[in-house]
Amino acid sequence: MDIKPLEKEKIPYSELEELEKECPSQEKEKKNGISSLDDEKEIISKNILSNIHQYDVIIIGGGLTGLRAALQVSDAQLKVAIISKVHPLRSHSVAAQGGMNASLANVPGENETVDNWKIHAYDTVKGSDYLADQDAVEIMCREAPSTVIELEHMGTAWSRLENGKIAQRPFGGAGFPRTCYAADRTGHNALHTLYEQVISRDIPIYEDFFVTSLVTENEYCVGCTALEILTGKIHGFLASAVLMATGGFGRLFNSSTNALINTGDGQSLALNAGVSLKDMEFVQFHPTTLYGTNILITEGARGEGGILINKNGERFMGNYAPNSLDLAPRDVVARAIDTEIAEGRGFKGGYVHLDLRHLGEELIKERLPGIRQISIDFAGVDPINEPIPIQPGQHYSMGGIDADKDGKTSLKGFYAAGECACISVHGANRLGGNSLLETVVFGRMVGDAIIEEISKGSCKEQNNLETVQKAITEIDSKLKIILSRNTSENQFKIKESLNNTMSSKFGIFRDRVVMEKGILEIEEIKKKLSQIKIDNKKLALNQAIIRFLELEYLVQLAETVAFAAMKREESRGSHTRTDYPSRDDKKFLKHTITSLQNKKISVSYKPVVLGMFKPQERVY
């Protein structure tokens, strides 16, 4: 076995060179800034300098949003770096299967009707149970065709129609076959494409860096701190703009399709920096996740004609969505399956069947090869011969960092996009195929907004060395305190009980009594956090401490989900209150805002941006 000592420096750029870099729009001031740095060099030891990196733009997260945004700002000649706790190709975007919605109209609708962005927007707004901001939805749907085509030009291997155009399949809640796909590996194909583009531009990537705090000064976000996982060293990053693109918080729940790394780091970091979160109670449960492991089985399987069958052999969706049947939106289908199981029509253990057998071997192998492999590997079932056992599982976080359509937040210099953000294109329920779309559209658009802001000269003073050094010291001592504890709580057991609480008390069906219990349980869990003991006392490559920091983030988000869910006394989209079974537009056609005030979560509301489509009853 080949064993070599760990390479100490894997930083892509010379740090000193970074400190000399200049913001294009404020050359003069910057030069002054640098010279004052030079003056200070006696008090700043070289050691600390090597920990501090300066860019125009820092992007936290290397999934589709982060990579797309990085391309945009890099092409505008801004100096940008990506920070990610994993290699970008391990980001959860890679797991997206079914596709990306765009009204390309490559496939005609019923009776030769032709799709357009307005119908896409209507489907999205109706799917959102009217909680989406319609200005943001309009942008996303208008930009969708050019976004899919842009990826095609960058090299994505989209599946094709006989005429050579990009193939499209039907998806839940959509009036047209609108979902463009690359077999059932759409996320994989798109992520590899964008990574290729990032690599070809030599954009620096700080891989295996775990972000530990946002650094703010005078109500401006000036950068972040991050733990270099391999060495245990804390780094500081300074930038004119920081974009959060860290994905969702699915690992708050114990049955989730999400990657194990989806721990809501970005939402929690934002909350702690004084930024509000929006609509956190809206958590999507995907109807078809593999029984047991909860690995995603794409909605595309039903798009291609797959049907849901209960224990009695009945195709039950007709009882819940007489028109759309198995292709109703996810909230509707997930509730239907849970109801079937609760009423004794599920299989023992709590699942139903997704039957693809009638589609035939050829179609399954051509369009759904990935989920066939997953079914074989993880459930020992070949969908060509047997139905797939499925159950609903947490899948997507509609809520997130409160951001406007430019990704701007209440904190100047701090932006958010993708699943970690709530620009609010999904409202109370996201349509399948709209999340990949959102990541790439808003990765680019928010990239543009950042470029514009920096070129306007709203670059702030760059002499924030002291602030970032202070932030580094704070994190350093925090980690040391955690490691020095001689307490006895086991973090893995606490994580398990948090997951159980969230899934059993804040799952598909919710009511006050159960949620009250849940809130008390979260309080108990929160108290135990400071009693957790970590055995591994070294900071370098200590996964236990990374998992602990992730747990801290998750517990904080659990509170926001719980309080927001408790206060929303209505049923809308994914948020189903058995004690308030109807939608209540008079009281709750508004976004929930959760923020941290005096270390406590407070809940307030803000209006929804309506527009083209007036709220109506939502029937499928």
Partner: protein, 256 residues
Amino acid sequence: MKLKVFRYHEGMSAPHYDTFSLEEEPSMTVLRALFQFQEQFDDSLAFQYSCRGSVCGACAMLINKVPRLACRTQVASLLKGEQQIALSPYPALEEKVGWDPSQEVLVEPLPHFPVVKDLIVDRNAFFKSYKFMEPVIKPESIPPKENLMDPSDLPDLELYTNCILCAACYGACPVDGENKDYLGPAALAKLYRFHIDPRDADNRRLEKADINNGWWACDFHGNCRQVCPKGVPPIMAIGQAQAELMEKKEKSEDKK
């Protein structure tokens, strides 16, 4: 059922193995077993993971002397003696420690990379080869709409776009073990992927690896194809590329 895990960290004089009795879980994967080890036995165990659904490629490691994804490999079927893959031998497959395959699952870091800690290796060399290939589409021109593509071109292209860059093939390739400068199966397959993409305008793609440590270094052991969790066949790409290059050379000789 037991897990026998390779342990090493900087400063240790030599690596050792830890053995841990597993608590049985239904359809337990090796990744789940590693988490059990970390959560119940020693929280300092280090291994990489992300998707746990065999799509991200983070958790490639040497399991029962075969490079595999930990998240895709079932403990029970290993113990039953299933999932055996006969690989062309290379030094990393030699038994350095005794283990009982009917009772134990042996987990070691992916061969041919420097070990950083326990099961984590430094894949830098792998991504350096990848980058060397200039893995990005180079179009002739950009049409206003999508490029049209014959759907019958896709199956071949998908064979290679399915690569998740987990590096299992690199850890399985005897040539990579002997020759650190060999570009390796995944990078070569990636280059071939761009070569056969009908949208790509660079007609000198294959020449990029027309060097001693490129196409010509392959000994056709075929381990790459056998261990690929996504069914990608780098050996086929390499064979095709060699044939095409030879044909090209013959043609240019003829012209002279």
